[in-house]
Symmetry: C2
């Protein structure tokens, strides 16, 4: 029985540490003598930064705190390994380090780029007849990975977006005034997160009136016409917009803002995160409405206090499934989630070919988007609603959630 | 026994509806035949918009939902009544309406301007020999009301700020990079909310390295010197800043941004909410650090999913105390919170003269701020920590908190 190495990569999520808990506890249960963590991902490994996780996660309470700690406990990186046929050096270094630490299996928790890392490491391993197994564990709030029904991290981000949008909608109707609120949601290339705004809807809330996704090119005139109609119907119009919406020429709306040439107070080009700002200005100028832009910010990827318990559990399960697969001898795989049914919601884990995941991108299906391109339909609801179910209560100490850190 | 009228005014909070619940349930318990709600505050009353609350809050479950619904259930306004000696008309109209609806007591839940309304109504009532009692119920996230230890709404905003700052701090340290994060917190005139960032600190979190409050004029050179020192000591520097910080000339930092003359994409002067942006740009330009600005946004006043149970309870209690005082015959008062001890934390309600509250503003005491003016000390901790204790779990249905609306 050899040792296990696990790392976290890419942007954080509210549940990436639950996957780490799943890898750690399953590896220990399977008898791995040591489970090492990569500090700051593969980049840290290249600098020799390994941690014996027994020294930091020895107690069951540590595991409970780990599940409730947002962001990447081990630290992360955005390092992309080179093509080994072009530059073998980092691979030689890494495999030497694996040998020194008697590593039998490597797990990398991350998104697209992380699956590329697993793909390259396993391909290189094959060429040097290594017996080390390389398995990817999916993670991304963006939900854009192929071959998995959804990605751990998405459900919690979706629950956060739906919950705070509900609260913002309460807030927006407080005065007897007409207004248009534009809420900007993460998602540079796909609209999964923006679509989650629709989950705010229920018997006590209309949810957003419009949702703009990167999957649909922005049509300014059609949009303004629709907003003008809505403005007549109701006091408060609520628009959810993905930061990645582009116009028909393929230009990000936020770039239309920054090309207007603003300078910051120091004469430098201003950094404006601007999709919601752009739309709020557009509506104000063209329709003369009172508008308000709000950005949902980085909390979308770190609000563990609002994590979906379904998501926490599945994040743990894919971590565990990855370890079991490695123990069975599988390599070059990613642990995926396969949906068995929507109602009742049931899933199982399965192993998929990591090379078919890396460097692809899953978009919101066209037939889940309304015909006018400005909302999602009941197919999205059926898909996403189960992912935000149930809660994992933070452990509050002295009024704030307790976390765990290296 | 006469009827009761209650309204909500000014900006919303996470617990303003708990005060409404306290007024409603206590008034019913005291035998008020009808409890009427003002739709959109005193402005709505002037338009005859009254609602019999029995028709919407008849069930105990409605009360539980009301306590968990952010923003103002009845709607709000920012209407300031004129001086009755200058313009008597609205007073004549209001008192006629009170007479028609057989109103014996009026309660107004709000901040400074609302206490001004109570003050004027009671003064006018005296001149016309009215027996109607007018009582204010304090509410504001800003915590700037005189004669009350703190204001309902502040504890929940403080808990939200401390909690999400903890999460943002986790997020900010994910990569092996040096960075400075500037978090912008509400509070145009006082630093109570910005100071609450300090509550993020504990055994698992350093909290913010610096806190800038409107109480201390911003000294650019001293600030940059301190940031440069911190930058040497640690990877990630965290700065909490009140939106209302001004420079030595009394100019808001955010106005320094907008006077830089940016135009939006449509050629109009851009609306930039800019204190954190200004500081992030300043640090980037002057110290050459990677910086990040984040605004905590309107969620500070509407995140009922993270409300402090202490705050919820006290908000209810001041509502109830206001009704009891009116039943005893008091008028021109505000229900206040008096602290009996810090440890264990104990408070009681008391009635204070509303004219001594209206139009004053309570600042963070100078001796609660560190000598360099860039943090708060243990006196603030002792004051504020009890206010964020305990939670009121939302009622989650279908993955999101359920609310109640008119």
């Amino acid at each position: 029985m050899k040792n296990v190495l696990v790392g976290q990569s890419g942007g954080p999520t509210a549940v990436i540490n639950s996957s780490l808990a799943g890898v750690y506890e399953t590896a220990k249960a399977c008898g791995a003598p040591h489970v090492y963590g990569m500090q700051y991902g593969i980049e840290g490994v290249l600098e020799g930064k390994l941690i014996d996780l027994d020294t930091v996660l020895g107690d069951k309470m540590d595991i409970e705190l780990l599940k409730r700690t947002p962001s990447s406990f081990l630290g992360s990186c955005r390092h992309k390994l080179p093509d080994p046929t072009v530059d073998e050096k980092p691979f030689v270094q890494l495999f030497e380090l694996f040998r020194q630490n008697d590593i039998g299996a490597v797990f990398y928790i991350g998104g697209n780029d992380s699956m590329d890392t697993i793909s390259k490491l396993s391909a290189y391993g094959k060429t040097v007849n290594s017996e080390i197994r390389f398995i990817g564990v999916p993670k991304t709030i963006d939900n854009d990975l192929m071959l998995t029904d959804h990605t751990p991290g998405y459900g919690s981000a979706a629950k956060y977006i739906a919950t705070i949008l509900k609260e913002v909608i309460c807030d927006s109707s407080v005065y007897d005034l007409r207004s248009v609120t534009v809420a900007e949601i993460m998602g540079r290339h796909t609209g999964w997160l923006a679509a989650a705004a629709s989950l705010a809807a229920g018997p006590d809330c209309n949810g957003p009136d419009l949702i703009l996704l990167p999957e649909c090119p922005f049509d300014e005139e059609a949009f303004l016409k629709r907003v003008a109609e809505l403005e007549k119907e109701r006091h408060n119009v609520i628009i959810a917009v993905s930061e990645g919406v582009k116009n028909k020429d393929g230009v990000f709306l936020c770039d239309l803002v920054s090309t207007a040439g603003q300078l910051d107070a120091f004469g430098h080009k201003a950094i404006l995160s601007g999709t919601s700002r752009y739309l709020a200005d557009l509506i104000r100028v063209r329709l003369g409405c009172k508008t308000r832009a709000i950005e949902f910010s980085t909390l979308q990827r770190c609000a563990s206090h609002l994590a979906s318990r379904t998501d926490v559990t599945e994040a743990y399960q894919v971590g565990g499934a990855a370890v079991e697969a490695a123990m069975r001898g599988e390599t070059a795989k990613m642990a995926a989630i396969k949906r068995l049914s929507d109602q009742p919601y049931r899933v199982e884990t399965e192993m998929v070919d990591v090379t078919k995941v890396a460097n692809f991108e899953k978009k919101v299906p066209a037939d889940w988007i309304t015909e006018d391109g400005m909302h999602v339909n009941e197919k999205f609801e059926r898909y996403a609603r189960p992912l935000i179910q149930a809660e994992l209560s933070p452990i509050y100490i002295n009024g704030v959630p307790r976390h765990i850190h290296l």
